[in-house]
Structures are given as C-alpha cells and as structure tokens.
C-alpha cells in the first residue's frame, strides 16, 4: 500500500447506542497538508478526532495512517505510530512542571520507554529537545512552574507543546484557540504554523479567522458527514456550508476581519 495519504478515513461510522453520530466519513489528507475541520456544534468533529486517535473505536469503517490501519488500536499504539492530538478541554499534567510535562511527551519517541535504569537528567537528547520545545512555545519563563499555576493561555500553549513533543508527523488539534483573545489567538496561530512545519495538521476551529488563516483545505462536517472538502475560498463560496454553518453575516464579518 502506498503511503500517498498521511491520513485516510474510509466510510467511518460511529454509533452511540442508537444514535448515529458519524455517518460514513471519507477523507484523505495528504502529507504536509493543513486541514481545518469546521461544522456546527455537535456535528461530530471531536468525535472524529476521538476515532482517529483511538480514544473511541469506530463502529465500522477504516482509519489509515500512512497506509497502515489504525482503527481499533489503543491510543498509545497510535501515538507510537506517529499521530498525536490535543484536547478541546486542556488536558495536561497539573502537578508536574512545564519542563516535566514536555519531557514526558518527548520520552517515548526517543526510545526511553519504561526504563528505570537511566536518569532523566542524563538523557541529553531528551533534555535538549525539551528545552527547544519550551522555547518554541514561549514558556521559558515558566519552565519550573507547575502546570496548574499557568494562566489559561499558557496552559493551552503547553497543551500544544505536549502534543507536538513526540515529534509525530500527524497532529490533531481540537479548538486550540478556544477562550483566547484576538491578540493571543493571532500569536498562537503563528506558533502553530511554526511548530507544525512539514507536518500534517488537522484542526477543529470555530473561529473563522483562524480557519482561513491556517488551513490549506477545509473539511466541513455536518451531522456526521463531510459535506465539503476543498480550499478555503471554495468552501466559503459553498452555499450549503453557508446555510449549515456560517450564517451569512458573521461569515463575512469574521472571515474578512482577519
């Protein structure tokens, strides 16, 4: 199987009890592409992420990561194959310092699995990588602060930091900028752009500014189906999208606002 696509979903379905939440999603993302997923609340965007990242097992259908099937695998197995995700609600290690949080994210990928025969402080490569990450996400000042004590925006940054720490090739971000102010958002977008260079990125967003600023392609999910998957311009012009999601006035205001 050729790994033409970094991530491929084939007629993916998910039911919760009787309700069908994902109703046959097909999506193929090329390596290095930045894709934004938008859609009304409850359309199934986060669920889609959960299916891809192994938090949930699909009812049917396939998920392929670089051509390899990963549906039904455990989250850590999927992560080891090079897919990493962030969470809509911040999900970090509250009682560890920023540095430790990031280092935890780094360890597996550098092959330090469950070892208890080496000291962390002697793992030069891991420490170097962690320092670099801290710098990337701009938290040098908070290096030794416990994650609980960070401000909201800093926590969001750390969330992204932990997500990219393992060096995964495919990154999924769920509403990375939720709860941030305009200026912070702008700053954050550039950060994301910067840290995901050369990687495949999927992100869920409601902020159209972010979407249009970040994405090469946009997938629109409505009621568990992808109704459009195209370039930003094409999507904005799509009448169905406007009707189902954007709502005329806001789309213009926000889309143009950036």
């Amino acid at each position: 199987m050729s790994a033409q696509f970094a991530l491929e979903l084939k007629s993916l379905r998910k039911n919760f009890g009787k309700t069908e939440i994902i109703r046959g999603v097909d999506l193929a993302v090329k390596a290095g592409e930045r894709v934004a997923i938008i859609g009304p609340n409850g359309a199934g965007k986060s669920t889609l992420f959960n299916l891809i990242s192994g938090r949930l097992a699909p009812t049917s259908g396939e998920v392929l990561l670089s051509g390899q099937r990963i549906d039904g695998k455990k989250p850590y197995e999927i992560n080891r194959l090079g897919l990493s995700r962030s969470f809509q609600i911040t999900n970090i290690f509250p009682k560890l310092s920023v540095f430790e949080n990031l280092r935890c994210g780094v360890l597996w990928s550098l092959g330090y699995r469950y070892t208890f025969l080496r000291f962390l402080s002697n793992l030069d490569d891991a420490n170097a990588r962690t320092e670099e990450l801290i710098k990337q996400i701009g938290l040098q000042r908070k290096r030794d602060v416990h994650a609980v004590n960070l401000t909201y925006a800093e926590q969001r940054a750390l969330e992204i930091g932990v997500t990219i720490a393992g060096g995964a090739g495919v990154i999924l971000l769920d509403e990375p900028t939720a709860g941030m102010s305009k200026t912070e958002t702008a700053h954050f977008i550039s950060l994301i752009k910067h840290v995901t260079v050369g990687k495949t990125l999927l992100t869920v967003e409601h902020d159209m500014g972010v979407v249009f600023g970040l994405a090469d392609k946009i997938a629109v999910v409505v009621y568990g189906e992808v109704i459009a998957f195209d370039t930003p311009a094409a999507v904005r012009a799509n009448a169905r999208v406007q009707e189902a999601y954007l709502g005329s006035s806001v789309a213009d205001a926000q889309g143009a606002g950036h």
């Binding site: 409850g42 669920t47 509403e175 709502g247 926000q254």
Partner: protein, 231 residues
C-alpha cells in the same frame, strides 16, 4: 439593580480586583470587556460570593457582600461560568433539573422553553452531559441557569466554542431575555457581538473599570480600545 462600589477581591493572598465600581440597571444588557486576565471572571465570581471580596455590593437594595452563593442565587442572580462546569455524569435533563430552585413552579422558564430554544438539547436530553460536544455544553449551561429564573444573569464568555451561526442565535436570545425584563451582565471576548447587543459597555484593565459608556462611545474611543482591548 446591581451595584458594585470599590470591590476588591483576592485569591488566597493575591489581590486581583482593585476597586471595581459599576451598576447594572433593570432590563439592561451590560457588556464587560477586557483582555485575558484583566479580572472580568473574577468580578463575576465576586458578585456570586465565590471569591473573597471586600467593598460594597448591593442587589435590589440588599447587601449581598458576605452572603453565601446559594443565598445570592435565591435572590435572583444567575451565573453562567466560563468553563461551563456542566455535571458530566448527569444527563442533560438532570443538569437542567438542578438549575431549578425548589419545584420550579412559577418560573418564567420551563423545560419546553429550553428545548425550544436549542432543539439540539432536546435530542440529547437523556445523554450524559459529559459527552456532549463543546457547543452543546455551552448551550446547556446557559439553559441550566435560566431554569433558576434569575432576574440578572451573569454570563461569562457564552459564545466560546460555538459555531458562528449559534453565536448569532445566542445574541438574539440575550435580547429576548432583556425583553422579558431580565438584566444581563455579559462578559465577552468577541467584540462584534457584544457591541451589537449591549446597552452599555464596560472595559476592565488590571482589576478595575477603565471605561464605562455606550457601545457607540467605545467605538469612538480609539485610545481606550487600543490600550485596553487590543494588543
């Protein structure tokens, strides 16, 4: 109706609000704007009695400064927190039930009103709230507070994580509330929507109010905007 005068608030030993004063009149929508960390959420918590506060705090001519949160709620102030605080293991319906005070009789709002407002919630009414989508949770918190039949509702960032279309919808509903005589203290990040629907705008900076005026005058006041709202 609500009167804050020289309110100081503390998280443990750290002093966050440095003398906040403003009023909210009956049936008024007041937008409370400001940057991240400027103290808007803390103001809301101070009103609700959830943080240690000092100063003068009056509501309907009663001193509510040292009251317990549940007493304040019973006096008719509703609070929608920023991090949603839904009860994840309870169903949507149970979440709403908890919003009611007493039996819920005599309330302006019924379950049907809520489900009418957001049909999505009706569909999910027997689902555990914890698995709702982010946006659905946001709707739920709003409705949950309304079920308590408040006269003033303090909403902290209600549109976060909502699809643009729903954001518009929320704006409309806030206006409906106002028409029913309910005051709204709206804490917002999204200037556009806040400016559209509010009667008055407050801007907070470093724990005190730095601007108090109509949305139009704020629009005109470029310096305040620049200094306290942007970059």
């Amino acid at each position: 109706m609500l009167k804050l005068h020289d309110i100081h608030a503390y998280y443990g030993k750290s002093h966050v609000l440095h003398g906040v004063s403003f009023n909210v009149g009956a049936g008024e929508i007041v937008a409370l704007l400001g940057r991240n960390g400027s103290g808007r959420s803390t103001t809301a918590k101070a009103i609700m009695g959830l943080v240690h506060a000092e100063g003068t705090l009056r509501w309907k001519d009663q001193d509510i400064l040292r009251r317990k949160a549940y007493e304040i709620a019973h006096l008719g102030i509703g609070y929608v927190p920023e991090n949603r605080d839904i009860f994840p293991k309870l169903t949507v319906h149970q979440n709403l039930l908890l919003g009611q005070k007493g039996t819920g009789k005599g309330s302006r709002w019924s379950f049907d009103d809520m489900y009418g407002m957001f049909p999505r919630l009706k569909e999910r009414q027997h689902t555990e709230a914890g698995v709702l989508s982010g946006g659905e949770q946001q709707m739920l918190t709003l409705c949950r507070t309304l079920m308590g039949d408040p006269d003033l509702i303090i909403i902290d960032e209600p549109t976060e994580g909502l699809a643009p279309k729903i954001v518009e919808l929320v704006g409309q509903y806030l206006k409906t509330l106002k028409d029913k005589g309910i005051s709204v203290l709206l804490i917002e990040q999204k200037l556009t929507i806040a400016m559209q629907i509010s009667d008055r705008a407050l801007v907070m900076g470093h724990g005190s109010i730095v601007f108090d005026g109509t949305p139009d005058s704020l629009r005109a006041d470029a310096t305040t905007r620049k200094e306290w709202l942007e970059v």
